[in-house]
């Protein structure tokens, strides 16, 4: 039976950085675009994000990272994703992501990278295309 439900997105703010203007803007725009969106709030550990993603049975996790700690965070997240069977969940990263780190992020299992300045509709479009 196919259950027709909205695509579920968890927008998360990992680490200690408190700048969440961007995270909230993306979360709100995705909600307006028709997705079922939850925002975690600040300072979430990889464990908390994974737990939340499981509880909510999300299709997409979107991480907002501005402090520069994206690689170390995604490294920690990779093992947890495997462990908890979340490999089918689309993983997106946005924020201040230098070009030179993008391949490394993809190697860590990141499906889409949206640096600051990406048009909001691109994020929605990417999710629609890639969530089956």
């Amino acid at each position: 039976m196919v259950v027709d439900r909205k695509i579920r997105v968890l927008v998360a703010k990992p680490g200690l950085d408190g700048h969440d203007v961007g995270a909230k803007v993306v979360a709100r725009s995705l909600k307006e675009a028709g997705f079922d969106v939850t925002y975690t709030g600040l300072r979430k550990s990889p464990e908390e994000i994974v737990r939340r993603a499981q509880d909510l049975d999300v299709d997409v996790i979107g991480l907002s990272l501005l402090s520069g700690s994206h690689l170390s965070f995604c490294r920690r997240l990779r093992a947890l994703r495997k462990e908890h069977g979340l490999r089918d969940v689309l993983l997106l990263v946005g924020g201040v992501i230098p070009e030179k780190d993008r391949q490394a992020l993809k190697d860590l299992g990141v499906d889409g990278i949206f640096p600051a300045g990406t048009p909001l509709d691109c994020v929605a479009e990417f999710i629609r295309t890639n969530v089956s």
Binding site: G15, L16, D17, G18, H19, D20, V21, K24, V25, A27, R28, S29, K31, V37, T38, Y39, T40, G41, L42, R43, S45, S67, G68, S69, S72, F73, R76, V96, P98, E99, K100, P115, A116, G117, P119, L120
Partner: protein, 537 residues
């Protein structure tokens, strides 16, 4: 074609919602409230500036935000900036320090020394300020959630080096209420957080009367989505919340109000910003005089650092940010600021390079030395446009403040998450306007070329070994300190917090014994608990 035809002229409404006319006349000033309250610089209501001679006597302080890695590296950047003519310091702390964690806390992994200097104990402060004359250079600490500990460390470090704390100048940001709206380095729930700000104000009034314990920030509220009117209105509501708290604890208004200062944002429409500051200065003086019955004119001064402009800068064509910085500095000077700081051209994506930091400094110096901006006070006074806009901005700031009060006050609005919700809605609106091209941003949504995609960008190198160095120093400090003295000081602080006494004397004692930021914070969390963020969408 009739050039005078009004149908050709598109309506213009500024960010604060005020419709701008193509031409202003004396009638506009009269219709908006008149010119009676312009007054003279240095006199109530201080529309034209808080001092009579302003920059003729002393130009603005230049205080670039700086700090990264270890205290040694940060000390190097401080000296570099001072050697290049900077007149104040503004310390950036790493995220663990800002939220009250030690470098060896599991939550600190990957963040030690990344966006600012790592500080665990007084030892780090001793290193960071080595060789810097604290009488000549005033220091501003950008710290909020962990402010009591870091203010105490600054005093302890100064005292150890032979300075008299009673004559020490400087500023702590220490505006926790805005952290709940934007920036997010809160630790404790809202009410005890206000109590701690009150503790620092009371402690400083008694022990460090020249120190500014709080710099109330409209800046981050505006960066988070608020318009210029809301920026000032929310900041004033927050400042009033601190004042009300301290008054309720029995202190007289003139014993502390003069040490409160402000931190505001500049980007966007030049005239709107200048009018915003002139209007706000007048309104703040009026509030202090009429509502709080201050008698000392200094209590009525809206002293400020103004500049920054982060939300106006672009990742695209980053060199354009140098030009934007110059205009923001011009606005700041035309607005009668006390202190200026600019975001560096590369700051939209990295920790500023030495070269970028120097260009920001040179921008302010060129303005000061070459353009005649210091020659006369409030040069835009009397402009039909600026005076009209000043009147209109004041009226709108008052209206937003009245609205907040009518809904139960700013503290309640923050606890319920209403301000956060409103501001983040506007942030989305701001992005949409940029995406639609309604707000023009050069190099971002207009005048863009293909080659912009391949821009060479230099990132601040982050050294993974900073964490190990910092943890090793913390371990050494812990091993060498007097354990019993640390324990006694922390126990005293715990008891003082528990009994709702001022914790600052015990905090100062604890940091002198090399208690760490993390230990102090944990101890206070035991009493106050942690903030639970209301998440709205």
């Amino acid at each position: 074609m009739n050039r005078e035809s009004s149908s050709e002229i598109k309506p213009v409404v500024n960010e604060s919602g005020i419709e701008i006319k193509p031409v202003y006349t004396p009638e506009d000033i009269a219709a908006s409230g008149g010119s009676k309250r312009i007054g003279m610089p240095g006199e109530f209501p201080f529309t034209r500036g808080i001092h009579r001679s302003m920059y003729r006597k002393q130009p603005w302080t230049m205080r670039q935000y700086a700090g990264f890695g270890t205290p040694e590296e940060t000390n190097g950047r401080f000296r570099y900036l001072i050697d290049n003519g900077q007149t104040g310091l503004n310390v950036a702390f790493d995220l663990p320090t800002q939220v009250g964690l030690d470098s060896d806390d599991p939550m600190s992994e990957g963040e030690v020394g990344r966006v600012g200097m790592a500080v665990d104990t007084l030892k780090d402060f001793e290193i960071a300020f080595e060789g810097i004359d604290l009488d000549k250079i005033t220091v501003s600490l950008t710290i909020n959630g962990a402010a009591p500990a870091l203010i105490a460390m600054y005093f302890a470090m100064a005292e150890k080096r032979g300075y008299d704390v009673a004559r020490l100048r400087g500023t702590a940001q220490n505006d926790i209420l805005k952290e709940f709206i934007g920036r997010g380095t809160w630790v404790f729930p809202v009410e005890p957080s206000i109590k701690l700000v009150g503790d620092t104000i009371l402690y400083c009034a008694e022990n460090a009367p020249l120190y500014s314990p709080v710099s109330v920030c409209g800046y981050h509220i505006r960066e988070s989505g608020a318009n210029p009117v809301e920026e000032m209105a929310y900041a004033f509501c927050i400042a009033k919340a601190y004042i009300d708290h301290v008054l309720a604890r029995g202190m007289a208004i003139d014993d502390f109000a003069s040490r409160l200062s402000f931190n505001f944002d500049i980007f966007g429409n030049l005239f709107e910003q200048v009018a915003k500051f002139r209007a706000a200065r007048r309104l703040w003086a009026t509030i202090l005089k009429e509502k709080y019955h201050a008698a000392d004119p200094r209590s009525m001064w809206m002293r400020m650092i103004a500049g920054g402009g982060g939300a106006g800068l672009t990742v695209e064509q980053p060199q354009n940010n140098i030009v934007r910085g110059a205009y923001y500095a011009l606005v700041s000077a035309l607005s009668g600021t006390q202190t200026m700081a600019l975001c560096c051209y590369d700051e939209a994506y990295t920790i500023p390079s030495e070269a970028a930091a120097r260009i920001s400094l040179r921008t302010m110096q060129i303005l000061m030395e070459e353009t005649g901006l210091c020659d006369t006070v409030d040069p835009l006074a009397g402009s039909y446009y600026v005076e009209t806009l000043t009147n209109q901005m004041e009226e709108r700031i008052r209206a937003v403040m009245a609205e907040v009060d009518a809904q139960g006050g700013i503290v309640k609005a923050i606890i319920e998450g209403r301000i956060q919700d409103a501001v983040s809605r506007q942030a989305l609106d701001r992005v949409r306007k940029l995406e639609r091209g309604e707000t023009r941003r050069v190099g971002m949504n207009c005048y863009r070329t293909e080659e912009d995609e391949e821009r060479p960008i230099e990132f601040h190198p982050f050294k993974e070994e900073v964490a190990a160095e910092q943890i090793a120093r913390l371990d050494r400090t812990r091993a060498e300190r007097d354990h019993d003295a640390v324990r006694r000081a922390l126990d005293r602080m715990h008891a003082d917090a528990d009994k709702e006494r001022n914790v600052m004397p015990a905090v100062v004692e604890a940091v002198k014994q090399y208690a760490s930021v993390g230990e102090l914070t944990k101890c206070l969390v035991e009493v106050y608990g942690r903030y639970q963020e209301p998440v709205y969408l």
